[in-house]
Amino acid sequence: MRRMNGVRAIIAGLALVLLLTGCWNRRELNALSVVLAMGVDKVGEQYVVTLQIVDPTQMSHDRVAERSPVVTFTQRSATIFEALRKVTTKASRRMYVAHLRLLVFNEEAAREGINDIVDFVARDHEFRPDFYMAIAKGANAQDLLELTTPTEVLPAMELYKSLKVSQQAWAPTAAVNIVEFLQKTTKTGIEPVLTGVTVTGNLKKGKSLGNVSRPKSFAEFKYVGIGVMKDDRLIGWLNESESKAYNYITNNIRSTVGIIDCPGSDGKFNIEVIESKVKIVPSVRDGEPYALVKTSIEANLSEIGCNVDLTKEAEFLKLQAAASDRLKEILFDSIAKVQRQYGADIFGFGEAFHRKYPSQWHSWKQEWGKHFQAMPFEVAMDYKLRKIGKIINPFNNVKKE
């Protein structure tokens, strides 16, 4: 009898299970708008939030060519969350932000501090913390997100992939996701950076589907250098070679290209960095911090415009020395510039001291900005050129017979 009751309870439970399929936070895919990119422009005291969402019908095989694959909604509001909810008055579906790929701020928002925005993004449960962040340099985030792009159907995916690839293959950009940003912004010994992205060309035409109807786009976006932040505020920009130096020192180089003046002759030669390892070795001199930046690089010769005879080892070594000196100069100048001009420890010297000299660190911590600015440092190079490619000498050097 008791068992019968148990069986009945299970059957009743299962029946209810079938009826209850509409509850909890269950949402069908076709009730969601997948937000791929979010732009936040600060205009006066208000935020203008732009959401780029996917039109799912445009992702299938039988898509209509005249419809844009993405839709953007723009909403002005005092807070981000309110803007997100207000957008539903313009759209039929709930905004689903878990697949956000890119969060862009305009320069004004970045200069005034992005803590308010980041707080919401980090606090809300729906955001998946793997999206990149960037600053629209000399442009509005809204303009950037309204651009149509040629390679990927979805502009947000193009922006996302482009940032990822450019950091890996070219290096003067910083693909910073929110977790990395939050870690750096909350630590004392290191400051965050955000990459800059700009829009060039005819914006009006760039925002129409016509932008992708011919080989050369009317307007295009471009990642430009790295923005130096102090806490959550943008304080300045690094140029291309400084940005690259930043990536060298923070070990973000997977592969990059270096242009070097030929030793002893006109012209330039190119190397392709294949391996780069930089170690910050902190030490204390006379009670003050001192850092040694130990750099070990492996590179291949990729393009030679010099008058050299590579069959001779001495000439090859000259090229190696020139490449080494050039990189040392770039690294040194970049660190010096950041020290002098911004005083923001984006390289994480402070973290290195914190790890090695925890007790001294506590006395420097409060005023680390000043200590960093005054910190002497040296760059030590261990530079190896490895391969010279499929041919030995440059063609203008080959003796005609």
Binding site: L14, E28, L29, P56, S60
Partner: protein, 480 residues
């Protein structure tokens, strides 16, 4: 029965039998007068005995070789009747039993006994290929409906004098022969005793198939949907089973033989695992486990991911799934339910339909209905893929009796996924695991040798190790 004893007058006995059998037209009565003037009555059921043998070995011998004077039955038994299996019946019940089992009955005056001559000879199916568990390489014969043929098929494979067979008659009306077969010394004696006791205690009027016995023997009746008594129509599997110390239960009139005790892993093994190279067999076994999970969980994981955990999918995949779901009027759960039920209907139709059209209809039906449903925007293409892979995966499970509970569980998991997402799946899976680990088959934990973990039995559980060390006699599953 009041008149259980046979009468000394054979006419009286004959009248009694005829009236008990309702003068059945297939009851053949043959009156013989021997050279000595002694009269005999032969009784048999037409179609149940080998008529040729009755003619040559009984009637001819009685007429030619009977001694000149009247002799008692035991002389006929010992000296005259030319057959292997001849014995006495002392009661009406016994007589009827033998008569109905296909024996010839010989009655004479002056004794309250009768003779039975075992000359069964009915039409039976010849040995064919196994229809439920076919192999590419390996023996192709399978059991038939005749019990003796079946025990012989096993005996021919294991020529061990220690093979023991115990006979039972189960079913008050069908009086079905049930034979236990095991190897003395390998099988657990207690288990043999236990099964014998249960078979003797059975009160049922009919046993038409092994499932009747299976249900009667199961200790966890009504408590689980998992089969705890293995059945197969392959003699090589049964031979392997008794060599492992298990007990085979043959039931007359069915080509399926039961094997006790049974573990979960048995259902995931195929006879061919032992006939192919070890590497290949093990790869295929692992593939089967993968299929098991696909069959059980694929639709529910799809439902959970697309309705609760969209954030767990890669962005591109989410977008392509979202594109497919555009314009689908049903929630993912209903969509999946619709397709799965449709598939189950087609599958059942395919089994019940005449062989010749069955398979074609079910395949064509699935493809046509799937394609049409997609074109009509009733289900998404992704769902058709999920249902198709689920269906194919369910065919990979080697034992039909295991694929049935897995197919049931699939629907349960779909419900859980629709209500609680991956959280529900996790809960369901935990409950399932607890249930499986709790199950026993004749005192052996169902999930052994994994839970509880038995190192010595891993040699042929999920994987099969090479032969020399594979199955030393004595480390039998039954002996635990």
């Amino acid at each position: 029965m009041s008149m259980n004893n046979l009468s000394r007058d054979m006419r009286e006995t004959l009248e009694l039998i005829l009236s008990l059998m309702g003068h059945s037209p297939d009851l053949i009565v043959r009156d013989i007068e021997l050279a000595s003037g002694q009269r005999l009555i032969l009784l048999y059921l037409d179609g149940m005995v080998d008529k040729q043998a009755v003619q040559n070995n009984v009637i001819a011998s009685l007429l030619d070789r009977a001694p000149a004077e009247e002799v008692p039955l035991h002389v006929l038994q010992q000296c005259v009747i030319d057959a292997g299996e001849v014995g006495f019946v002392d009661s009406v019940d016994e007589l009827l039993d033998q008569l109905l089992s296909g024996c010839l009955i010989v009655l004479t005056n002056g004794t309250a006994r009768g003779l039975f001559v075992g000359l069964p000879g009915w039409e039976d199916r010849s040995i064919t290929e196994s229809k439920t568990q076919s192999v590419v390489r390996g023996p192709q014969d399978s059991f038939t409906e005749t019990l003796r043929t079946n025990t012989t098929l096993v005996r021919r494979r294991v020529k061990d004098p220690r093979i023991r067979m115990v006979n039972f008659k189960v079913g008050s009306r069908t009086k079905t022969d049930v034979t236990l077969m095991y190897i003395s010394g390998l099988a657990n004696d207690k288990l043999v005793e236990q099964i014998s006791e249960r078979l003797n205690a059975v009160r049922i009027d009919r046993v038409l198939e092994g499932e009747y016995i299976e249900e009667l023997l199961r200790e966890n009746k009504g408590k689980t949907i998992f089969p705890t008594l293995y059945n197969t129509d392959r003699p090589d599997v049964i031979a392997g089973g008794i060599l492992e110390g298990r007990i085979a239960i043959f039931v007359d009139n069915t080509p399926f033989v039961l094997l006790a005790p049974t573990l979960f892993v048995d259902y995931m093994q195929s006879a061919e695992d032992y006939y192919q190279s070890m590497l290949y067999s093990n790869a295929i076994r692992l593939l089967r486990y993968v299929s098991l999970f696909i069959c059980m969980l694929a639709p529910s994981v799809y439902i959970a991911l697309t309705t609760f955990h969209q954030d767990m999918l890669p962005t591109q995949l989410l977008l392509s799934l979202a594109a497919q779901r555009e314009g689908i009027p049903f929630p993912a759960f209903l969509e999946a339910l619709l397709m799965e039920v449709t598939f189950e209907i087609l599958r059942e139709a395919g089994i019940r339909m005449p062989r010749t059209i069955g398979q074609a209809v079910s395949i064509v039906g699935t493809i046509v209905i799937g394609q049409a449903a997609v074109d009509a925007s009733i289900v998404s293409p992704a769902m058709v893929i999920i249902v198709a892979i689920t269906a194919i995966a369910s065919f990979v499970i080697p034992s039909y009796s295991m694929s049935v509970p897995i197919r049931f569980l699939r629907f349960a998991f779909m419900g859980l996924a629709a209500v609680m997402g991956v959280y529900g799946l996790t809960i369901g899976f935990i409950i399932l695991t607890i249930h499986l680990c709790h199950l026993q088959s004749f005192g052996i934990p169902y999930m052994s040798p994994m839970a509880p973990f038995r190192k010595g039995m891993q040699k042929d559980a999920v994987l099969r190790l090479p032969y020399p060390s594979s199955k030393p006699t004595g480390s039998a599953r039954g002996k635990r």
